[in-house]
Symmetry: C2
Subunit: 204 residues, 2 copies
């Protein structure tokens, strides 16, 4: 998650202070598509400033005093160059779809079937809600959003629909008990396993 690209990208539009960046990300519903923490936002901003890719445009003191002043940042020429590089770098990343639940799958068979079933059910519910929410966003914004942003959300919906399909299968298999199969290998399976070990693995 290149926080730097995110920040520079937003500053390509116009100058902003960190909290405004955070808000913009929320307002645009991007936090549904990738996760962000305040901590790394402020950290990245500091780094960018140190590297001369952004600079303070203005420091605003909010009336009411004791609150920290906000610093408004602007992208520099070096920053605009860095943005182009980061954009390409992000494209170049070995990049494949990821889902936190992938990691649980190889191990569910060691878990408690009833608990697992419930967890899958919850994920499925969350997934369905997410699809609805994002459809609402697209309907309201789709036509006037920058095309790339609209396509991101559209992609996110597509992926979420695939997720729904996958979770539905998982749920069925959890209910039938099939999901928890595979504790032991029969000799035939073992032989197949040895064969499979020779499959080429593309380094990822």
């Amino acid at each position: 998650m290149s926080m730097r690209l995110l920040i520079l990208g937003l500053l390509m539009e116009h100058e902003r202070h960190p909290y405004e960046i955070r808000q913009t990300i929320k307002d645009r519903n991007w936090n549904e598509c990738f996760k962000l923490r305040d901590g790394s936002l402020y950290y990245a901003v500091d780094q960018l400033r140190e590297d001369g890719l952004i600079e303070a445009a203005e420091v605003v003191s909010v009336p009411g005093e004791n609150r920290p002043d906000k610093t408004i940042y602007r992208i520099t020429d070096a920053g605009r160059n860095a943005f182009q590089e980061l954009l390409v770098a992000q494209f170049k990343q070995v990049s494949y779809p990821q889902h936190p639940m992938f990691l649980t799958m190889p191990f569910v068979r060691h878990g408690d079937p009833k608990t697992v079933e419930n967890m899958i059910l919850k994920q499925l519910g969350a997934c369905e809600h997410r699809i609805e929410r994002m459809h609402a966003v697209l309907e309201l914004k789709g036509s006037f959003l920058p095309r790339g942003s609209a396509l991101m959300i559209q992609g996110f919906i597509l992926f979420s629909e695939t997720e729904k399909e996958w979770l539905t299968t998982l749920l069925e298999e959890a209910r039938s008990g099939k999901l928890f199969e595979g504790h032991k290998l029969t000799p035939a399976q073992l032989e197949a396993y040895l064969k499979y070990k020779q499959l080429p693995t593309d380094d990822v």
Copy 2:
């Protein structure tokens, strides 16, 4: 990425040394589905040992001397409990599909069209190869893999096929130039934008 879950999960099967864990992950083609670095593997192993979740079962000196000895680890009772908790925690994660290219989308319009088009094309190629590779894995292993592992790979293929579809759209739009639209907002768009700002955002 809970390295801990991954390690404990593998040690639920039988004892292993760190390098063997690394190998197993590769042999099972899991590195296609989630990314792992040696550094975090060894770090996590150390943590797990400190926490008493795993213990050294045996230290093996390899003939030929000067190589570091391998320590074979075994999961403890505390570790088995921790495994169950980590499994549930992983299920509970706010969990949605992610793709590194999502981050580029809102900003492609500031990038160089020709470069962007090429990058998308490359991703599409990589994606197609991945699908083929994973199909080969499933065909060879699908029947004898623990069901959960097979479903993970199946899910990964499903997601990759969705990715292919999405990338194809992106490519078309890059070629037609539509992808790069959205530099300025018309007054009507601005009004729509203000409306959209009021959309509820589920915190993620």
